[in-house]
C-alpha cells in the first residue's frame, strides 16, 4: 500500500442543529487523484474546509503527511474553494505576483506558461473575466507551486465546456503523480471519469461507497455517474 497523504478518522462536524459529517473515515494515498462525489449538502465542502484548515472538526482526527491540521499543513495544501477570492481591480499578472508571496516555492515561469496555456492575457482585469476564465485562473494558482495536496471544490461548476476541457487537459499534464495528491469534487461526474483513480461517494455526511474507480467498474459494470445515482437512491 502506498503512503497516505491524508488520514481521516471518525470525523464529525456539527453546525448549529445540523450534522454535516457523521463519522467519516478516509485515507488518501500519496500520488492519487480521488474524486469526492455526492449531491449538494452531502458534506463535501465541509470536508474540504476542514482539510484546508478553515473549519475545525467537532470530533475526530485529520492528519496530512502525519501532521495535525495547522500552519505546517496549510503550507503544503492548495485549496481552491468554489468561490474564488481574487481582486477584481487587479490584472491577472498582478494577481499572480501578489499570490506568489503566499505560496512557498512559487514558480513564476510556470505561472506564465500556464497563463498562456489557459489562453488568458496577463494584462486582463480580473473584474472583466468570465466565470470560465476565472476558473482557469484558479487552476494556474493551484499548479504554479509544488503543493503536496490540492483540494478542488467544484472546479468545473457553471463554466463553459471549452474552459472545462482546457482545465481537464491542464490537470492531466500538470499533475505530479510522484509527489502530489488531489481531491476533487464535482457534480459533473462524466467530466472526470477518466481522471480520477479513487472515488469516495459521500451521502448525508457519511461515506456510502469508496474504492479504486476501475475496480468498482469491474465489479459493478457501471460508470461513476451511475454509481452515484445508485448511492443517492
Amino acid at each position: 500500500m502506498k503512503m497516505a497523504t491524508v488520514e481521516i478518522n471518525d470525523l464529525v462536524k456539527r453546525y448549529r442543529g445540523t450534522q454535516a459529517l457523521r463519522g467519516v473515515n478516509l485515507r488518501l494515498e500519496s500520488g492519487c487523484v480521488t474524486g469526492l462525489l455526492g449531491e449538494n449538502g452531502s458534506g463535501k465542502s465541509t470536508l474540504f474546509r476542514i482539510l484546508a484548515g478553515v473549519t475545525r472538526p467537532t470530533r475526530g482526527q485529520v492528519l496530512i503527511d502525519g501532521l495535525r491540521i495547522g500552519v505546517e499543513t496549510r503550507r503544503v495544501t492548495a485549496y481552491l474553494p468554489e468561490v474564488d477570492a481574487f481582486y477584481a481591480w487587479m490584472s491577472i499578472e498582478e494577481q499572480l505576483e501578489f499570490l506568489a508571496s503566499f505560496y512557498p516555492g512559487w514558480d513564476q515561469a510556470k505561472a506564465r506558461e500556464l497563463t498562456q496555456f489557459m489562453k488568458l492575457k496577463g494584462e486582463a482585469r480580473i473584474g472583466e473575466l468570465s466565470k470560465g476564465q476565472r476558473a482557469r485562473l484558479k487552476f494556474i494558482v493551484a499548479f504554479s507551486w509544488p503543493s503536496r495536496l490540492i483540494l478542488l471544490d467544484e472546479p468545473l461548476g457553471g463554466i463553459d465546456p471549452p474552459s472545462r476541457a482546457r482545465i481537464m487537459r491542464a490537470m492531466v499534464q500538470e499533475f505530479r503523480a510522484e509527489e502530489q495528491t488531489i481531491l476533487i469534487s464535482t457534480h459533473l461526474v462524466a467530466e472526470i471519469e477518466e481522471f480520477v483513480e479513487q472515488v469516495v461517494f459521500l451521502h448525508d455526511g457519511e461515506v456510502a461507497l469508496q474504492g479504486n474507480a476501475d475496480t468498482l467498474r469491474t465489479d459493478r459494470g457501471k460508470s461513476l455517474s451511475q454509481m452515484l445515482e445508485e448511492v443517492l437512491s
Binding site: F175, E194, F195, V196
Partner: protein
C-alpha cells in the same frame, strides 16, 4: 508543457468499463493498425496519459499489464517498447476481431436471433457494404 497530439486522437472511453483495460485495447489497436511498428518505442507514460486524457497512474497500470502480457517491454531508464514479434501483433488482430464478434453475437442473442438468422443477416449487411464501397 509538452505539446501532445491530444487533439488529433481523442479516445472515447466507455465509462462503464475499466479505463486501464480500454487503454490496453487502444494500444493494441494502434499496433495492429501500424501506428506503432513492432519494436518501436512507445510514448512515455506521462505523454501517453496526456494524449489520451487519462490519469497517469491508470496509464502506468495499463503499461504494466501490457508488459505482463508480453506485448510491451520496458527497458530500465530507456522506456517502453512494443514487442518486436510480428506474430504477437497479428495474434492481437485476431483477438480484437474475436472480441468484436462476440460482442456482436451477444447483442444479437439479446434480440433473440438464432445463429442461422444471424449468419444470414451478416451476409446481407456485408453485401450491402461491398456494394456501397468502403463506408
Amino acid at each position: 508543457m509538452v505539446a501532445t497530439g491530444e487533439e488529433e486522437r481523442a479516445v472515447n472511453f466507455d465509462p462503464t468499463r475499466p479505463i486501464y483495460l480500454q487503454i490496453m485495447e487502444e494500444v493494441k489497436k494502434r499496433a495492429v493498425r501500424g501506428d506503432y511498428a513492432a519494436g518501436e518505442q512507445l510514448p512515455s507514460v506521462r505523454d501517453m496519459a496526456a494524449q489520451m486524457g487519462v490519469n497517469p497512474n491508470t496509464m502506468s497500470r495499463a503499461y504494466q499489464e501490457l508488459e505482463r502480457e508480453g506485448f510491451v517491454h520496458t527497458k530500465r531508464g530507456e522506456g517502453s517498447f512494443l514487442t518486436h514479434e510480428n506474430v504477437r501483433i497479428e495474434s492481437e488482430r485476431t483477438g480484437l476481431a474475436q472480441a468484436a464478434c462476440s460482442q456482436f453475437v451477444v447483442q444479437l442473442r439479446d434480440l433473440s436471433l438464432d445463429t442461422a438468422t444471424t449468419r444470414h443477416l451478416l451476409q446481407r449487411v456485408e453485401e450491402k457494404v461491398n456494394e456501397n464501397g468502403d463506408r
